[in-house]
């Protein structure tokens, strides 16, 4: 992720917002916003993404601080897991009459 905010809104930065919908769930990415600092990003995230009790916890992260895999390298990058079918339970033939398996 190399998205930044250009001049025109000088000093504002792009933050990605993650919400925990309720206790027991992971934080999930919901979108982004502009803010001058992290505190302001948190307040804006509350106003923008939790107007109807959508969250019990918010993370904000500067978009510039996120390192992401590149979709162009998708195949080689994820190849190591592609050919290991034996990692899945369905790889193993077990007779139907074996219980609880």
């Amino acid at each position: 992720m190399t998205r930044t905010v250009k001049a025109g809104e000088a000093g504002y930065q792009l933050y990605e917002v993650f919400l925990r919908g309720k206790r027991g769930l992971n934080h999930v990415h919901v979108g982004s916003l502009h803010a001058a600092d992290a505190q302001m990003a948190l307040h804006h995230a509350r106003d923008l993404y939790t107007r109807r009790n959508e969250g019990v916890s918010i993370w904000v992260v500067k978009a510039a601080d996120i390192t992401a895999s590149s979709p162009q390298e998708k195949d080689p990058f994820f190849a190591p897991s592609g050919d290991k079918v034996y990692r899945h339970p369905t790889f193993y033939d077990i007779p139907d009459d074996v219980p609880h398996m």
Binding site: R3, V5, K6, A7, G8, E9, A10, G11, Y12, L14, V30, G31, S32, L33, H34, A35, A36, D37, M40, D47, L48, R51, R52, A68, S70, P71, Q72
Partner: protein
């Protein structure tokens, strides 16, 4: 062709094939995927226009907040207008994933280089307009937007899902407001009818030009950006709305509106496309007012944005100097 150019060409062809394959399999295009330039620019234009519509859309109803007839209606209207701001922000955020700059999009809006929905260039004359906008304008928006939840561009589709959930409140509060007014005095019922008369045709125009005058529709549908044609969505809206009007007890201002048994749809009269073109081009009743209010808000807010940046910098410097001092005092 040089060897390098040839290799570039092969790579581009492979990327294009991958893009087409993703679309063909109904999978979503995500921000960092390769995409044709035309797809990117169409997407940015559509999302930006949509974002601008939400932002400008705050104005027609916003002007009634201070004159709401009760605290209940005021709280509802405030929440609704705040939602419109939120919808604009979700959409600007989606446009930015394509490389657009938010500040630049705002600039394009206030200099008239990008459009917004023509419906917001009509004035709101009475409080019944708040109800009719919720019922018809938001109803038409829902018709347009529900299929966009399956749009091929991931961030746009996800923003639309969020928006559609909230639009349902907008439409229902409007219809409930109108039902309340229809149970009131003759003057109140007349206000509802008058607002319906004024907003019916502009609501039908919200779906855009007829299919035979909409040259971009075919490409947008091939790319999965659009799921239905303008005329299909317009028909769906009319079919949904006629029974709602009957239940409400208002007359839709179209003498040609009648059920067509053979087609299984309501037939409706001719839309005045000259009016639509004029309003889109800037000659609607409120175009200048809407843009100047947006520009004023942007200019008047400049000092707040500047102050926030200075405050953030100062807070950061203070935090750094405090932690630096603590470090020196350490063991």
């Amino acid at each position: 062709m040089t060897r390098q150019a040839h290799q570039d060409r092969l790579r581009d062809d492979a990327l294009a094939a991958q893009f087409d394959d993703t679309i063909a399999h109904e999978q979503r295009i995500e921000p960092r995927d390769w995409m044709p330039d035309g797809y990117r620019s169409t997407m940015i234009r559509q999302i930006a226009q949509h974002a601008h519509s939400e932002i400008i859309g705050m104005q027609p109803e916003g002007s009634w907040i201070t004159r709401a007839p009760s605290l209940r209606r005021k709280a509802i209207l405030l929440a609704k207008v705040q939602d419109e701001a939120g919808h604009g922000m979700y959409l600007y955020s989606a446009a930015e994933t394509l490389g657009a700059e938010r500040g630049d999009l705002t600039e394009r809006l206030i200099t008239g280089r990008q459009k917004y929905s023509s419906i917001f260039n009509y004035p709101t004359l009475t409080y019944a307009d708040v109800g009719v906008i919720g019922w018809l304008v938001d109803g038409a928006a829902i018709c347009n937007q529900v299929p966009l939840c399956r749009s091929s561009y991931g961030p746009y589709a996800r923003a639309m899902i969020r928006i559609c959930k909230e639009e349902s409140f907008h439409q229902r509060q409007g219809y409930e407001l109108l039902m309340t007014m229809m149970r009131g005095t003759t003057a109140q019922r007349d206000m509802v009818q008058d607002a319906t008369n004024r907003f019916w045709w502009p609501s039908l125009m919200m779906f855009g030009p007829p299919d035979d005058a909409s040259p971009n529709t075919a490409q947008s549908m091939a790319w999965g950006i659009k799921r239905h044609t303008n005329d299909e969505l317009r028909q769906r809206f009319v079919d949904m709305t006629v029974p709602q009007a009957e239940k409400l007890g208002v007359t839709l201002p179209d003498p040609d509106l009648r059920w067509n048994e053979e087609r299984g749809h309501y037939a409706f009269g001719a839309i005045d496309w000259d009016e639509f073109t004029a309003v889109v081009k800037g000659d609607g009743p409120c175009n200048a007012q809407r843009i100047s209010a947006r520009r004023k808000a942007h200019d008047d807010g400049a000092w707040v944005r500047e102050a926030a940046v200075v405050h953030a910098r100062k807070a950061r410097l203070e935090a750094e100097s405090t932690s630096g001092a603590a470090g020196e005092a350490g063991p």
